[in-house]
């Protein structure tokens, strides 16, 4: 999916590669919201998401001279996904160190009101929270796929690059993740009932 500002990226990218920090910061400004959203949806809490994306942008800055692609977003997302996985590992280690007993790595905090943009009205807050909670119950690999493809709108190819996996794996993980989410959301009453659906069709 073409994002606004995507076409401007190439020129800014050229300047950033030449070491222009202001140009790099323009890239940061253009992509920090989707990057942070991606991390939040993956990690489920604001602190971890912010730390992961801070790391991601620093890594991106360092890797900039080696980057030869033209599309910035999949490249940034790839770095972001890696940093999110690192963050998850750190979180797990912390938890093991503190002998804290929780179920898996999937604890999550709902986004606080100030963290959400004005477009949060697009979806009822309770529905958004129910979806986030359901996302956190997916295995991380499946969660990654559904967030990249459905929440962030990446193509299968872009998602494969971002998650460093094969195209076929994208399809199968995505379909399993969607099916599981559908079952969870249905159980929570977040999907239209069968009769409503049939009435629509």
């Amino acid at each position: 999916m073409q994002q606004p500002g995507q076409s401007d990226d190439a020129a800014i990218l050229e300047r950033a590669r030449a070491g222009d920090a202001d140009a790099f910061n323009a890239l940061v400004r253009a992509h920090e919201r989707p990057m942070y959203s991606l991390a939040y949806r993956l990690l489920g809490n604001a602190d971890d998401a912010a730390d992961a994306i801070q790391d991601a942008f620093v890594n991106a800055f360092r890797a900039l001279r080696q980057f030869r692609g033209e599309e910035v977003r999949p490249w940034l997302f790839r770095i972001a996904v890696r940093c999110c996985y690192d963050q998850l590992r750190r979180r797990k280690r912390r938890r093991e160190d503190s002998l804290e007993q929780t179920s898996g790595d999937d604890h999550w905090d709902p986004p606080s009101a100030p963290g959400e943009g004005p477009e949060s009205n697009a979806l009822r807050t309770e529905t958004a929270r129910a979806i986030q909670q359901a996302l956190m119950e997916l295995p991380i690999e499946h969660r990654t796929m559904v967030i990249l493809c459905d929440v962030q709108g990446l193509s299968y190819e872009e998602a494969a690059e971002a998650a460093s996996i094969e195209l076929g794996t994208v399809k199968s993980r995505l379909s399993r993740a969607r099916a599981r989410l559908r079952d969870m959301l249905r159980a929570r009453g977040e999907l239209p009932s069968g009769s409503e659906r049939l009435a629509e069709t």
Binding site: F24, M35, S120, N121, A122, I131, G153, L181
Partner: protein, 236 residues
């Protein structure tokens, strides 16, 4: 290949939803969905699920992730941080006064022991503030003078005018900030506005021991000079 009589698999439903089935399979899937209530229901729920995911709001980060780039962006940050501007203004004024009065005293062969603490206070005031770069990481690419990046998150409201007692003192602040070594990472990591506040307080103390006429003349001259330099930089 699809069998039109058996139910569609989850993989097929998912791929069909994205229009990712091969052409022949797409036709067969559509035919099956027309005929099979179970698959149609599953497909419809899948569509609703994906629709909800797509409608999830984009979240605003709690802070900006822009990288610090001293010294190019220091000035713009200073302009936005009233406290920093005031602290640096006091420090810069103090330094200037010391220099000017030192010269005067050389000419008139008198001593000014009261002014001596000022340089010490200045180095304390400027060092943490030049670290206004927010990053835990110091990145030092080749500096390019442009209007610095706007700080979006965690930035106090736009700078109020400098303290009334030092009307022309804000621009010298930038001067002295720029004169600091650019890549001093140890200083850059010490960005704490508290430090600035302390330093500003201590920096303004020596002012009281300087003759007020010298202060006004010195600060005004330096202010005008710095303003000219800053404007020239902005035009680049």
């Amino acid at each position: 290949m699809l069998d039109t009589t058996s139910h569609l698999t989850e993989d097929q439903l998912s791929a069909h939803l994205d229009g990712q089935l091969p052409e022949t399979e797409t036709v067969l899937a559509a035919t099956h969905l027309d005929a099979c209530v179970t698959c149609r229901s599953a497909f419809s729920e899948l569509q609703s699920t994906v629709g909800l995911l797509r409608a999830l709001p984009e979240l605003r980060p709690p802070r900006s992730f822009q990288v610090g780039a001293p010294p190019a962006s220091v000035w713009s940050r200073l302009m936005q941080w009233d406290l920093g501007v005031r602290g640096l203004a006091a420090a810069a004024a103090a330094l200037f006064v010391v220099m000017v009065s030192g010269d005067l005293h050389l000419l008139t062969s008198t001593s000014a022991p009261g002014a001596l603490p000022a340089p010490t206070a200045l180095s304390g005031a400027v060092a943490p503030r030049s670290a206004a770069a927010p990053a835990r990481f110091s990145l030092t690419p080749s500096p390019v003078p442009t209007s610095g990046p706007a700080i979006t998150a965690a930035t106090p409201p736009a700078a109020a005018p400098p303290a009334p007692a030092q009307p022309a003192a804000a621009p010298p602040a930038a001067e002295s900030a720029r004169s600091q070594p650019a890549g001093d990472t140890a200083q850059i990591r010490a960005a704490e506005s508290k430090a600035t506040k302390d330093a500003a307080t201590s920096a303004s103390d020596p002012l009281g021991s300087i003759r007020s006429g010298t202060v006004l003349a010195g600060v005004s001259a330096l202010g005008l000079g710095a303003l000219a330099i800053v404007r020239a930089r902005r035009r680049i």
